[in-house]
Assembly symmetry: C2
Homo-oligomer: 349 residues x 2
Amino acid sequence: MNTKNGPQKTPIREWGKQSLIDRLSARFTLRNPSTVQGPGDDASVACFSESLTVSAQKLSLEGIDFDLSYFPLKFVGYKTAVHAMGQVMAMNAHPMQLLVCAGVSQRFYVEDLDELFLGIEAAAHTYGADIAFLDIQSSYTGLTLAVTASGDCDAGLLTRRSGARDTDLICLSGNVGAAYMGLQLLEREKRVFTGEAKKDELPNLEGYEYILERYLKPELPKALLDNLKADDVIPTSMCLLTNGLSDGILRIAKASGTGAKVFVNKIPIARQCYEFAETEKNVSPLVAALNGGDDFQMLFTLPLSLYDTLAKEYSLDMIGHICDASVGCRLITPDGRSFPLESPGFENF
Amino acid sequence: MNTKNGPQKTPIREWGKQSLIDRLSARFTLRNPSTVQGPGDDASVACFSESLTVSAQKLSLEGIDFDLSYFPLKFVGYKTAVHAMGQVMAMNAHPMQLLVCAGVSQRFYVEDLDELFLGIEAAAHTYGADIAFLDIQSSYTGLTLAVTASGDCDAGLLTRRSGARDTDLICLSGNVGAAYMGLQLLEREKRVFTGEAKKDELPNLEGYEYILERYLKPELPKALLDNLKADDVIPTSMCLLTNGLSDGILRIAKASGTGAKVFVNKIPIARQCYEFAETEKNVSPLVAALNGGDDFQMLFTLPLSLYDTLAKEYSLDMIGHICDASVGCRLITPDGRSFPLESPGFENF
C-alpha cells in the first residue's frame, strides 16, 4: 500500500480490469490435469475422475480477518486460500481448483495485487491446487478476498461431521491455541508501534516465530491426512478448526448426535504458547486452545479399536473420546472435575 | 436496515453465528439429487453425472455493485446469485449448487439477512439450484456477498469464449442497455430524494418498470439456452454480458483470435430505453447498449449455415458476424460507416 519511501508503485486505475486479470493470470501454473479451463472465461471447468465434487468458500474482510498494519498482503492471500482448501480437506477430499475474487479500494496499487496473488499462488502450489477463476473489482473501503476451493473425492472416503460414534477417539492433527497467541502478540506490537502501549510492553517478536507463523501463515496437516488415507484409515468424522477446539468438538457432537469428553492434560499446546502467556498475564494458554481460533488443525474421530495403531504409527494427539449425548460435551481436569465445553457464540458480531 | 418506523428488528449480535446460519439454512429446499451435502459441514458435496464441473464466483460489494438506498436487499441476493449462475450457464452448463458467504456490519439486522437470503433462495428456485454452503461473518463496513455457482456439463456441450470462427453469426438472447438505463433512473430518483436534483428532475418511475426490473432483478435466458440444447444447436462461443455488448464482443473476438462486425441497426434496444433517453438527454440508448453493462443477456456465435433455422425457430437477435482478425472489432452504421468497438477500460477502478 502507501509505503511512501518504497519503490514507485502503479495506481490500479492506470490499468484496465482485464489487463490486471491477464497480468496476474500469466503468473500462475496450472498443475492439475483436472483443470480443463483456467482464468479467462465465464467460469472454470474441472474434469473430476472420482464421483463427488467437494467445494467450500472463504470470504476474508479487512479489519475482521486481517489487519494490514501487521498482516502482509502475501499472507492474506496465502491464509485465505489455505482456509478454503482446509475446509475441502476436512471432508477428506483433495482441493484441486481455486476460484478467486478480490475487491480492492483506491489505496491499493498494482504491486499490492501482485503480492496478494503471490500468496494465493504459493498456497495453491503447496497444496497442489490451481487458480482456475479470477476476478478483480473495485471496492469503496479496504480489501475483500473471496476464495472457493473445489476438489473430488471417492464416495467411500468422504468424512462428514456427523459420523462420530460413542467411544470413538477424538484426535487432533497438532497443537491448538498458537495462532491466537500470535494474534495477541501482533496486537501488542501494534500498540507499541502506535504509542498506545503500556509502559512495560516493549516490541519483542524474538522467540515467538512459531506462534506468529501459525497466525500469519498457517499450514494444513496434509501429510497426516495423506498417510491415514494411504493406510485406509478413514475418520468417522472430521472438522477444520477455525473457531477454536471447543467449537469444533461441539460441532461434531451436535452433527453426530453424541456427547464428548476432552481431557485437559491431553490437549497439545505449543511451548511458545506458554511462554507468551507468562509475559501476557491476561491470556491463558488453555483458553487460547479452547476458544482462540485460527488453528487450521484437523479435529477428527476414529474407532477406539485403532488406539494402538494410531499411537504407534501417526503423529497425532488423542485428546478424549465421544460419548452418549446425555453426557454433553465436557472438559475433564486432571483431578477429575468436569466442565461443560462452551463455544464463543457471537464470533465478532 | 435502520428503518426507524418499521417493525421491531433483531440486532445480529443477539444471535450467534451458528444460530443465524441454522435459521437461514432451515428455509432452503434442496431440490437437486446431485446435492449430496448442503449447509452444515466444512464444505458442500455434489455428485455430478456428467464429466465436467463448471464453477464461477461473483463478489458483490456495497457501494460498487449496489446502493442500498434504492436496491432492496432481496434483490441484492437475487442478482448476485443470478450473476454467478449466468456465468456457469454461459459455458452451456446448468448451475446446480450455490456457495454463499455474506459479510454484514452492525447496521444490519437478523431480518435484513432474512431478506438477503430470501432473494438468493428465490434465484436458486428460479434456475433450479441449491444453496449448498453458507457462511456469515461480520464486516466493519457495509454488506459483502460472495456467491459461487457450480454445475455439470457434458464435455461435448461446453461452450468457451474461444470457439468463434470466421463468418459465424453473432447472436444476442435479447435487448441490451435496459439495465443501465434503469440504474440512471434510480440514480436520478435518489438525487430527487436527497434534494440534489435539478429543477426539472421530478420523481417518476411510472412507465419504466421494465428498465428498473432489468437492473434490479435481472433474469437469464434459460429457456432459449434449453431450447437450443434440446435441438442440438451448440454455440461455437458464448459469453454472459455483464460489462456491456462491446466488452462481450471484444472478449469473444480476442479469445477466438478473430474480428467481428456488429450492425448498429440490428442491436436490440427496448422501447423504455429510448423513452428514458428522451427525458435524460445525456444518455444515449446506443451507448447504454454498447457500454452500459449489467445486461445478463447471452452473447453467442453460431455457424452461418444455421441462419434460416435461427431466424424461424428461436427468439434471438442476430446482430452481426465474426470476421478475420485483421478487420478488428467494428460497429457498422446503416450508411455503411464503421467505427472500432471499444470497451470501457477501467470499470469502476
